[in-house]
């Protein structure tokens, strides 16, 4: 299972490609690729967004679903999805609409 992530060009904000076909700021609404075809489609969308200068550092990352939530497999990506673990009031985790994965 994979989702597409990147940093937004203008401010570097971590974003994911969402089910609503837009780049979103919280991982929860990310579009999940469950097979090769899905991955290829995400990859193509990422390439197009890079070419359109919307995002940079586009990457397809491994995720799991836990209690209906999307949780990245690697710690690196979990930290990107939440924010620095030493500053809990910085990054996504500081937003009122952020719901921590269990």
């Amino acid at each position: 299972m994979k989702v597409l992530t990147a940093n937004r060009l203008i401010d570097g904000e971590v974003v994911w490609y969402g089910t609503g076909d837009a780049w979103i700021e919280l991982i929860d609404g990310a579009r999940i690729a469950r097979d090769k075809a899905g991955e290829e489609m995400l990859q193509a969308l990422g390439k197009a967004a890079l070419a359109d200068n919307l995002v940079v550092d586009v990457d397809l990352i491994d995720v799991e679903q836990q209690d209906g939530r999307i949780v990245p497999t690697r710690l690196r990506e979990r930290i990107r999805a939440a924010g620095p673990t030493n500053h809990l009031h910085h990054g996504k985790q500081a937003r009122p609409d952020f719901a921590p994965a269990a």
């Binding site: 570097g12 971590v14 359109d52 200068n53 497999t73 690196r76 930290i79 620095p84 673990t85 030493n86």
Partner: protein
């Protein structure tokens, strides 16, 4: 302090204008990321995990109050109210928007600062002893030479595309506080028998994946030959350094593969062409730069002794701080103060905008307007009258920066690690915070004595773990964080590279392991005057291995 002349101002402003144009074109989609990335990197703009990161150069770690206030202003206005001082005597901002970078650089230029050459395969910020100009054991202030090197190396056309980045460090004392032997070039400013100034020149030190101690290739280089000789070294490196493999591209590999004798021969041959040519530094020019670094007029303040004695009696906290964070100055009425950015449980090297502003105020009121950043991620007030120490201490207490732990186990160097850094394998900061909390008791820390603990979140070793008395390296194993411990490293005049003690530890076992190492040392040291590093050199790794792993071997 060095002041920009008209040329410097024009140059830096032109660079800001250039980057502003590049950023605008990038945001307008006129240039691609592939085209833009090398341009932004030349101006210190990285992309990290959560956002862009801007690395601002603090030449040889020297700042005025006005400059520090501008760093605070940037933290407040464009970032999240804090900055991170690094082992390269720089400051990094973790959250700037790309669109704001030109404005930030404009603000920096206003106080004669910039972010040029804080990235890329060029000569980086020249670092120096943080007590330069104040240290009692110093032959001469090394910073004028660092400034000369800065001017020479700034956008040097021949050395802007080296095989890899290049770092120079300089010290003016026998006691090496700038870790010169783990730099590409290390310069030790000294005097020969006749009292003439010159340098011992070390080449090919470095940390990272392949740690190496620099080799001394010249015992005494006259000061006038500084640029000619450095040019000779850089030329040999630029020509012969490996460009085929990023991991073998630093000059340390060239020195290692060529052999010190042959490399020295090549450098000397190149130097023979350059010597007495246009790179020779005119005496008048050296002295002119030196004048910028003229020490402040330190008037006699003999009342300091009585004031300090009384304040010690009145305040236990002050007495502790005085014992740990105050260093002998060449002028008996003065002292150099270390402002610890290592409060118990805090992030090593981080300072808030309010703290930066307050440090600027204190420096202006009591420190002749001088601040230093140390490679150990602390701030220094190099010239404080002993009579004013209590006032400085009281102000530091108010802003939470009076932790009396300089050179103790909680004075930890830690790189940003996986909380911020795109290259990281594991976190560094929470590891430092946890160890710091475990050893929170100052009494216990002082009982342990000098102990340099350094943490890196990957093998690039920005946290200098190879030269930590205790070094910690974060790695990723099967998707989880694991920490390797090295022992016996040291980054001073007796530089040594730490040795891996055994299998690594998961985060939840690491602090216990550190405590085991410390307890083993305490049990085995000859007496309280034998520092951890000395005990390790005497005992070797065996007792530490035994303490850490013996149970395991029996169980197995």
């Amino acid at each position: 302090m060095y002041r920009y002349d008209e040329f410097d101002h024009t140059f830096v402003q032109a660079r800001v204008a250039e980057l502003r144009d590049q950023v605008e074109r990038r945001l307008a989609g006129e240039i691609t990321e592939d085209q833009f990335k090398p341009l932004r990197l030349m101006n210190g703009v990285y992309l990290q995990l959560h956002a862009y990161m801007l690395r601002v150069a603090i030449p040889y770690g020297t700042l005025s109050g006005r400059q520090m206030r501008m760093l605070a202003h940037i933290a407040r206005t464009y970032d999240k109210g804090y900055g991170h001082f690094t082992t390269r005597q720089n400051i990094q901002y973790n959250w700037p928007a790309l669109a704001d970078i030109p404005a930030i650089l404009d603000d920096l230029a206003r106080v004669e600062m910039h972010a040029i050459q804080t990235s890329g395969n060029c000569i980086r910020n020249v670092t120096a002893d943080h007590f330069a100009g104040a240290a009692a054991d110093e032959v001469a202030d090394p910073r004028p030479y660092a400034e000369i090197l800065r001017q020479w190396s700034s956008v040097h056309p021949e050395f802007s595309y080296l095989p890899r980045k290049f770092k120079i460090a300089i010290t003016g004392a026998e006691r090496d506080r700038a870790a010169i032997q783990v730099h590409d070039i290390g310069l030790h400013l000294k005097k020969d028998a006749s009292g003439t100034l010159g340098f011992a020149v070390y080449v090919g030190g470095g940390q990272g994946r392949t740690p190496m101690i620099a080799k001394k290739i010249r015992d005494f280089l006259p000061e006038a030959d500084l640029l000619a000789y450095c040019t000779a070294i850089l030329r040999v490196y630029n020509l012969n350094g490996r460009r085929d493999n990023k991991y073998k591209a630093r000059i340390k590999i060239l020195v290692h593969e060529t052999g010190t004798a042959e490399l020295t021969r090549q450098v000397e041959a190149e130097f023979a062409h350059l010597k007495d040519g246009e790179l020779t530094l005119p005496e008048a020019d050296i002295r002119a730069i030196e004048a910028y670094f003229a020490p402040p007029a330190l008037v006699a303040r003999p009342e300091g002794d009585a004031a300090v004695t009384q304040a010690r009696l009145d305040s236990r906290g002050f007495a502790d701080w005085l014992g740990q964070n105050v260093t002998t100055h060449r002028h008996a009425d003065y002292a150099a103060v270390t402002i610890s950015l290592k409060g118990i449980g805090e992030v090593p090297g981080d300072a808030t905008d309010t703290q930066m502003d307050a440090v600027a105020d204190i420096a202006e009121a009591y420190g002749f307007d001088e601040i230093r950043v140390s490679h150990e991620q602390n701030l220094i007030l190099p010239h404080v009258a002993r009579a004013d120490l209590k006032a400085v201490y009281d102000r530091l207490v108010e802003i939470g920066l009076a932790t009396a732990n300089s050179n103790l186990i909680s004075d930890i160097i830690a790189c940003p690690g996986l909380d911020y850094c795109a290259l990281a394998n594991a976190r560094s900061i929470p590891v430092a915070q946890d160890i710091s909390r475990r050893f929170a008791s100052l009494e216990r820390q002082r009982e342990i004595g000098e102990l340099k603990l350094k943490i890196s979140g990957c093998i690039n070793a920005c946290g200098h773990h190879h030269v930590g008395h205790i070094g910690i390296l974060g790695v990723e194993k099967k998707g989880a964080e694991l920490y390797q411990i090295t022992l016996g490293g040291s980054g001073d005049e007796n530089t040594s590279i730490g040795e891996i003690v055994g299998r690594g530890f998961p985060p939840e076992e690491l602090t216990d392991a550190i405590e085991t190492i410390v307890d083993t040392y305490l049990a085995l040291r000859l007496d309280g005057s034998e520092r951890f590093i000395d005990a390790y050199r005497r005992l070797g790794a065996a007792p530490f291995k035994e303490a850490l792993y013996a149970g395991e071997a029996k169980a197995a």
